[in-house]
């Protein structure tokens, strides 16, 4: 489930929680609130990530609770830097088995055996390598699909395109469906329909992150989440009310309010 700050597929994550999925390996450069919720709800057995904080606010308390105290269950970590993960997605999309990049010496390579090295056959330099990222399923949120099922992403595109192209299957939630993308910028970020397995129309589905051109990031929610997520009880109550007793339609209000 990618979406670099922008277009984070919260509605899809809530559906995963509601369906009671367990033992998932969650992959995301920035786990953000979306994985904090899924981890706290007990969906995850493993997290593959590169920066696990609440941006500009502080800790992800549910992530910390899982790592530090094993609550609600222990969480295995596979940890990279952003550069490593971005290159791994890129290699996944290109169907290369590994991604070479200029890594930084440090302890990450000590705790993650997926940091290896290749020797440049021309200069002899040792270049860091990580395996290509190839998720079983990638879920992203996008601004719009056309009637044929092509998907357009605009603004901060993060690693969404790479994550979709790297995955065995891809699911996309969108703000709306339009007739055609004709007349738009010719170099737009568009995923053709044959790269996508399923599309669900969920207006507001990226709340409290945002959809460029539709609604803004709700920074107040990110600030308030710090309080909600600090206590297991408050978190449980929040999930119960806003996820378990709710549904994808609840997101529509966010799309409408700030349009």
């Amino acid at each position: 489930m990618e979406g670099f700050t922008h277009l984070i597929p919260f509605a899809a994550a809530h559906e995963v929680i509601r369906q009671g999925r367990r033992d998932l390996t969650l992959v995301r450069m920035t786990p953000d609130l979306i994985y904090d919720q899924m981890i706290g709800a007990g969906c995850a057995a493993k997290l593959v990530f590169s920066w696990g904080g609440n941006p500009g606010v502080g800790s992800l308390h549910r992530l910390r609770d899982a790592v530090e105290h094993g609550w609600p269950r222990p969480l295995a970590l596979e940890e990279y830097s952003h550069a490593a993960m971005a290159n791994a997605y890129d290699a996944g999309a290109a169907r290369l088995p590994f991604a070479p990049f200029r890594g930084c010496p440090g302890d990450l390579a000590r705790v993650n055996p997926n940091y290896r090295s290749v020797t440049c056959p021309f200069t002899g330099e040792a270049i860091t390598a990580v395996p290509a990222m190839r998720p079983d399923v990638t879920i992203v949120h996008a601004q719009r699909a056309d009637r044929q099922g092509n998907v357009m992403i605009e603004g901060i595109t993060g690693v969404q395109k790479e994550a979709v192209l790297a995955a065995a299957r891809a699911i996309v939630t969108v703000e709306e469906v339009v007739d055609t993308f004709d007349g738009g910028p010719v170099n737009s970020c568009i995923l053709p329909h044959w790269t996508i397995g399923a599309i669900a129309v969920v207006p507001g589905g990226a709340f409290p992150s945002y959809a460029y051109g539709y609604y803004q990031r709700n920074n107040a929610f990110y600030l308030a989440w710090d309080g909600v997520s600090r206590s297991r009880d408050a978190f449980g109550a929040w999930i119960d009310e806003h996820v378990m007793q709710s549904g994808p339609d609840a997101f529509a209000v966010h799309a409408a309010q700030v349009a």
Partner: protein, 262 residues
């Protein structure tokens, strides 16, 4: 004009960069510092956030590195893999700002974990863009409050390389960039010794004594032969900084009722 330690640090950081710099900007104090530079002495400075926004000119400070404001005001926004490959790794970024939970005498930093990696006392957010930023930016600046808990003899985890074991260690590792050029704390400014690369206090902030620095540092801290005084923020710098902070706070109160938690 009176000012807070945070304001002093921000202003001191802003003064590290100029019009020709291409800055890798992180969230929080670095973002405030870089935008302060842009709004005061360096209007032509290029700010790049790792969300891929190149040449961002936000009117309010972003809470996250991916706020819509950054994209809307940027020259262009590129995919994240492209950012890390064509823009950072290529050595095009001249200045980067880092913060940390722990730093050692050679300006190596830890943003990963306090305690053992497998049984952490405090799990920190992790690496993010920092390791490759530390390797690929032409110079880096580290900004963090000074305390014995943070300025440690030995890191619990080396997330991002500074000057390694000191001396020419970076060069021996094949890294061609200069590495940490300054560490700016709430007490002083430290710079690496030209030979040993050990952090050395080069200027004390107004009102700080040597003993204050010594008692907030987990190793026997060295002072340069000619320790200067950090210039205080000017009224203009403080005004600009406070105005942008005020605008930011207003914007972040949100347009909707906050987190719906009852």
């Amino acid at each position: 004009m009176r000012y807070t330690p945070d304001e002093l640090m921000t202003v001191a950081a802003a003064r590290c960069v100029g019009n020709d710099d291409v800055c890798f900007v992180g969230i929080g104090l670095p973002s405030a510092a870089c935008n302060l530079a842009r709004l005061t002495h360096a209007p032509e400075i290029t700010l790049i956030y790792e969300s891929g926004t190149i040449g961002a000119r936000p009117s309010v400070l972003p809470l996250s590195i991916g706020d819509g404001e950054l994209c809307a005001t940027a020259l262009t926004t590129v995919p994240v893999p492209e950012f890390f490959r064509y823009w950072l790794q290529s050595g095009r970024i001249t200045a980067g700002f880092l913060g940390a939970a722990q730093i050692d005498r050679f300006a190596n930093i830890n943003t990963t974990v306090v305690g053992a990696y497998d049984a952490p006392v405090v799990r920190l957010p992790g690496a993010g863009g920092a390791p490759e930023m530390a390797a690929a930016c032409q110079r880096t600046f580290i900004v963090m409050p000074q305390s014995r808990r943070a300025f440690v003899e030995r890191l619990d985890f080396l997330t991002s390389l500074g000057h390694g074991d000191g001396g020419d260690h970076r060069a021996r590792l094949g890294i061609t960039t200069a590495g940490p050029a300054k560490v700016i704390t709430d007490l002083c400014v430290m710079e690496p010794d030209p030979q040993t690369r050990e952090l050395t206090v080069t200027s004390l902030h107004p009102g700080t004594a040597r003993a204050d620095v010594e008692s907030a540092t987990g190793w026997t801290v060295r002072f340069a032969p000619d320790v200067g005084d950090t210039p205080a923020p000017t009224a203009h710098e403080l005004e600009v900084l406070r105005r942008v902070r005020l605008d930011t706070d207003k914007a972040h109160e949100g347009r909707e009722p906050a987190c719906p938690t009852r």
